[in-house]
């Protein structure tokens, strides 16, 4: 316990020397949260999106499912590609023509809508809650931040301080635990602090309560610390570790649907994605939003906890193996041969 305490204290002292760096990462988390909140406020999409109607006279369609923009000229195709409009609709007398880059199902839905706007009803509502949007945006940033604040540990590895610590008469697991706790605190405190302040000062609806946010952010920060330890234990060069780690984080977070829920039409892939801890956390958020009981939440969190623990265990074993004197000696011997 003493080791853990002194490692954390020492890390905080070292962090003060890197003031500019930590204040910048603090600033970045503020940016990420603000972007997330803005998206969550305006992100309630109409199910059929914004549609450009090319017609000489106003067709006069109003519906909660749709936003229409009336144009006289045909908009360029790049507007469709960039997502400014979901579709372009031409009214040519009685005939309706639709130009879109989206799938057939969407085209059929849209056609059905324009044929009889009042009768149209959507089969399933896929509206995301505010909490899911905010957490979905924060997912990737929290994980990236955790990776970057792990640098004190990678510095120890690079400067070979870790070998001295290993041979010192103190608990090595305690040292690793201290590093992880420090990494957790330096991410969790500012992030939760900002959410707390925003919640207290402004009266923007946030979707979840403060304690629920604390709960989710807690798990996210633990996950990010575990992953950072894992990556830096396997890839010793801090630059490559950072590069590969951020690559993995970006791909998995996007796939897990943090920003944007993809329509999944592939069984194998969606089964694989269900194992991503990010996906599990997002599921927990949606469960919290729907006020479902404690049991389903715990059941969803269980795999996340398993993943976190196994990341810790694997990286601890790996680090211990790397720095235990016996093995490093045998490595040297092999080199000499």
């Amino acid at each position: 316990m003493k080791t853990v305490y002194s490692v954390i204290k020492n890390d905080f002292n070292r962090a003060i020397a890197y003031k500019s760096r930590f204040s910048l990462s603090f600033f970045l988390s503020i940016c990420a949260i603000i972007v997330a909140i803005i998206v969550s406020q305006s992100g309630i999409q109409e199910s059929l999106g914004t549609i450009a109607v090319v017609s000489s006279n106003n067709v006069g369609i109003e519906s909660p499912y749709i936003t229409t923009v009336y144009l006289e000229k045909i908009p360029p195709k790049s507007d469709l590609v960039l997502g400014k409009y979901s579709a372009i609709v031409f009214f040519d007398g009685e005939k309706i023509e639709i130009d879109t880059i989206k799938n057939k199902e969407y085209q059929e839905n849209l056609l059905a809508f324009f044929e009889d706007p009042s009768a149209y009803s959507l089969k399933e509502s896929t509206k995301r809650g505010m909490g899911s949007t905010i957490i979905g945006f924060l997912l990737m940033f929290v994980l990236l931040q955790g990776l970057s604040t792990m640098f004190l540990f990678s510095e120890d590895q690079k400067d070979r301080k870790i070998e001295r610590i290993f041979s010192a008469p103190s608990s090595f697991s305690g040292y690793l635990f201290g590093q992880v706790v420090f990494n957790f605190l330096i991410n969790f405190i500012p992030l939760f602090g900002i959410i707390f302040l925003l919640k207290c000062i402004t009266h923007i609806p946030f979707g979840l309560t403060l304690s629920e946010y604390g709960f989710i952010v807690f798990f996210l920060c633990v996950l990010s610390s575990a992953f950072a330890l894992f990556i830096s234990s396997f890839i010793k060069n801090p630059d490559s570790a950072n590069m590969i780690g951020s690559g993995i984080i970006i791909v998995t977070s996007v796939l897990a649907g943090g920003f944007y829920e993809f329509e999944q039409n592939n069984e194998a892939l969606s089964a694989m994605i269900r194992f991503f801890p990010q996906k599990q956390i997002l599921t927990v958020v949606s469960l919290l939003e729907n006020h479902s009981g404690t049991y389903p939440i715990l059941r969803t969190l269980f795999p996340v906890i398993i993943i976190i623990i196994s990341l810790f265990v694997v990286s601890t074993i790996k680090i211990k193996r790397d720095y235990s004197p016996k093995i490093s000696k045998s490595k040297e011997r092999r080199k000499n041969v």
């Binding site: 972007v35 590609v81 879109t100 989206k102 590069m243 590969i244 690559g247 796939l255 944007y260 329509e263």
Partner: protein, 247 residues
């Protein structure tokens, strides 16, 4: 000129002969495109596939990574000693970072072109029917801009690992706003206005307009603003650059 050429060649070969970087720079956009494209293939039509979208957008992710590569090549451990020699030698120490910027720009333009070629052959991503030079020019100047940003961050923070770790969240935020991971203008007007801050938005917009509308109106402004921004950032670099750091 001969002096800078020598440093430049060494920098370029250093970039090309580090296998991790070469693989990461070439294959990461390809893998990201294939993963995202496969995942979203259901929601796009047959005339315009998801690969067409992500094939172009993830290239910009590769381009923003130029900042990471330039930061790496500027202050990596094995280069620090070589840089120190340049500082001692009777040539302008600014050649150090100027050559790194040029080398990274060329390296990233090469790797991005290779990834684009792979994607075009593999999943038939549309990069314009006849006029491929437009997107290519934007790619080149965008690489130049981001390589300079990487060097500037290095000059300010004076450590490669710090700048490396600062750059990656910034890059992902810019890419996110630029619509690299999903079309962001679908999220409403307010986000659309914020997205204009990110240079990636403009690169992407210019490329898409060139590819699908043969509309070149954004090409010159984007390239010119890239050059102006690069020059301004270079001036900042020379203000912050202190060769004593290597000692």
């Amino acid at each position: 000129m001969r002096k800078i050429k020598r440093i430049f060649l060494i920098d370029l070969s250093n970039l090309f002969f580090t296998p991790e970087w070469l693989i990461y720079a070439t294959l990461f956009p390809v893998i990201l495109t294939l993963a995202l494209g496969f995942l979203t293939s259901g929601s796009y039509s047959t005339g315009f596939t998801s690969y067409d979208y992500y094939g172009v957008s993830t290239l910009f992710f590769g381009i923003t990574n130029a900042a990471t590569f330039s930061a790496n090549s500027f202050m990596e451990e094995k280069i620090e000693k070589a840089n120190m020699r340049v500082v001692y030698s009777p040539i302008n120490p600014r050649y150090i970072y100027v050559s790194k910027i040029i080398a990274t720009t060329l390296f990233c333009t090469m790797t991005c072109s290779i990834s684009a070629l792979i994607l075009h052959l593999l999943v038939g991503v549309n990069y314009g029917k006849t006029l491929v030079w437009g997107p290519f020019l934007i790619m080149f100047f965008a690489n130049l801009l981001f390589a300079t940003i990487g060097i500037l961050v290095c000059c300010i923070f004076k450590s490669e690992s710090i700048s490396n770790q600062i750059i990656s969240p910034i890059i992902s935020l810019l890419c996110l706003l630029g619509g690299v991971f999903f079309p962001i203008s679908g999220l409403g007007k307010r986000i659309d206005t914020i997205a204009n801050v990110s240079p990636v938005t403009w690169f992407f917009k210019a490329c898409v307009e060139m590819i699908y509308d043969q509309n070149f109106r954004l090409l010159t402004p984007v390239i010119l603003s890239c050059i102006v921004a690069t020059i301004l950032l270079m001036i900042c670099c020379s203000k912050f650059f202190k060769p004593e750091v290597y000692l």
